[in-house]
């Protein structure tokens, strides 16, 4: 029979025997983290394992600096590290996209089109620059979108925000219903309506934002 540890015991095991602690952490939390990351956040298995590794590493590395009064505090600590790991992962993914600009020299070398090599080089470099600019544009619009989304969410009722966000994490309606104190059988409809409401509000914000930008441009010119 597998040993069963309480969370606070896990903490003690990590403190006293880090080697055993890794296995206990993995069995108790790592697998849950992995399944949650794949199921609720649509990550690939490689991505999910990367996050599990980072999270367990951070727990092992930083745990000696903390002490926990009870089981709940220890669980919250681990949970926050896990969420930070996912957030860092998203940010890092964006940074990698920004940092790389690889010119495909192999394309230059293995040219079978008979095109003038100098013109071909120029065309490929130009293509790279355009692609990079397009990526930059996407990144800009993504950050603007995030800001506008937060503004719209701020205008909503707390329970509406929670329902939208929890459903984006695929949290079951039953659990959400207990948390926001609304009848479970109505939540599906509320959620549908709220998504439409959110999209409408977001579109209005985007339009208003574009108008503001045009005004600024006109003033500049």
């Amino acid at each position: 029979m597998k040993p069963s540890y309480k969370n606070i015991e896990t903490y003690r095991i990590i403190q006293d025997k880090p080697n055993d602690g890794v296995r206990v952490l993995y069995e108790r939390y790592g697998k849950k983290f992995f399944n949650y990351a794949m199921k609720s956040w649509n990550l690939s298995d490689d991505e999910a394992w990367d996050i599990v590794y980072q999270t367990l590493y951070k727990i092992m590395n930083s745990i000696s600096k903390y002490s926990f009064e009870n089981e709940a505090k220890f669980r919250s600590f681990i949970f926050v590290l896990f969420c930070n790991g996912v957030n860092n992962y998203y940010n890092k993914k964006k940074r990698i996209r920004e940092r790389f600009q690889t010119i495909p020299f192999n394309e230059l070398l293995f040219d079978e089109s008979g095109e003038n090599p100098n013109l071909r080089t120029e065309r490929l470099v130009q293509k790279q620059i355009t692609e990079q600019q397009n990526t930059d544009d996407e990144d800009d619009s993504e950050s603007t979108m995030t800001i506008l989304l937060r503004e719209v969410l701020d205008e909503m009722e707390p329970w509406e925000r929670i329902l939208l966000i929890q459903r984006s994490h695929v949290t079951p309606y039953k659990q959400i219903s207990e948390y926001i104190d609304k009848p479970e059988n109505q939540l599906k409809v509320y959620h549908q309506r709220l998504r439409k409401k959110l999209i409408d509000l977001l579109n209005n914000k985007i339009k208003a934002n574009q108008k503001d930008q045009c005004k600024t441009k006109k003033i500049k010119t």
Binding site: Y36, L149, I165
Partner: protein
């Protein structure tokens, strides 16, 4: 139409999810319920189990050392005190007898050091290296095993001498890298001029190296070669930066293998000819490998401590 709507909804959910993790207010509002969901997650039929086992083994290896440290902290403290006391009494006896006291600065497989010598010369010591010198520093002279970068302060009256294997490196004021192995000593000059010579004074062979050049002294034959330095990454260990400009992947692998001290096998079926054009600064080994995955069509996996890379030609 329906597909388009679903796509929009998925994008909206994606945006909501990311915002809930990056925005403090949204996170606080949702954390208790999310926490409950994560810890209620079932994991009876976990797929890709092997990868999880690899993670555990890697972490166990990583954290096996602190285990000993933690349990035997007190004993380490006592042992360290004894060693320090013994060292002090040894130094005192040397001073009383007026014998030269040698100071030794050594790095381990994971540490690097920066040392300022009594004449204000700065030495950056790479991993697995050792620098020895007379503590009173009557002459500007040191002995090096391993690799170090020297920024020597100018003093026309007193040359700075580095003993490295059977080679001797003599300078007045300059900066350069010395890499010593049992087979050879390699000196790469960044600024100024350096004399690379055989230590044996009879029929002594010497070579004057200018900035941008590197000289290699071969221990067995006592021969000295010099040529322009073409390796952009000779100081990567100090700057933590690897630069590749149209570098064949095969050579990139050699450079990262040396830089990270990892054994890498490239199952080269053509991918070695692909070129990399990128700079890596302060990145971990895993991060660099994952970025290669993004640039080239490669996969990697671990066999023990060895990384096996396979890939398709570009």
């Amino acid at each position: 139409m329906q597909n388009e709507e679903n796509k929009n909804m998925n994008e909206l959910d994606d945006l909501l999810r990311k915002s809930s993790l990056s925005d403090e207010k949204l996170f606080k509002e949702n954390a208790p319920l999310l926490e409950r969901s994560v810890f209620n997650e079932e994991h009876n039929s976990i797929p890709f189990y092997q990868k999880g086992e690899k993670i555990v083994k890697k972490l166990e290896k990583e954290f096996s050392q602190p285990n000993k440290d933690f349990n035997h902290k007190k004993w380490w403290l006592i042992a360290a005190t004894i060693v320090i006391l013994a060292g002090l009494s040894f130094i005192l006896s040397k001073i009383i007898n007026n014998e030269p006291v040698y100071k030794e600065i050594a790095t381990t497989t994971v540490t690097k050091s920066k040392v300022t010598l009594p004449d204000n010369t700065t030495v950056w010591l790479n991993k697995n290296s050792k620098l020895t010198f007379n503590q009173k520093f009557p002459k500007r002279e040191v002995t090096l095993i391993g690799e170090a970068f020297f920024d020597v302060t100018k003093n026309p009256d007193s040359p700075f001498i580095i003993n490295s294997g059977n080679a001797e490196i003599k300078v007045l004021g300059t900066s350069f890298n010395v890499k010593q192995t049992p087979e050879e000593t390699e000196v790469t000059v960044v600024t100024g001029k350096v004399i690379l010579a055989q230590k044996e004074k009879e029929n002594q062979k010497t070579k004057l190296l200018k900035a941008g050049y590197k000289g290699v002294f071969q221990e067995q034959s006592n021969k000295i070669k010099s040529e322009p330095n073409t390796n952009k990454n000779f100081l990567a260990w100090k700057t933590n930066t690897l630069i590749f400009e149209r570098t064949p992947f095969r050579d990139v692998i050699k450079a990262i293998s040396e830089f990270y001290g990892k054994e890498i096998i490239l199952n080269d079926q053509g991918v070695g000819n692909c070129t990399i054009n990128s700079t890596y600064k302060d990145q971990s080994f895993e991060e660099v490998l994952n970025e290669f995955k993004l640039i080239l069509n490669i996969e990697y996996n671990y066999q023990g401590n060895t990384v096996i890379i396979t890939g398709e030609p570009c």
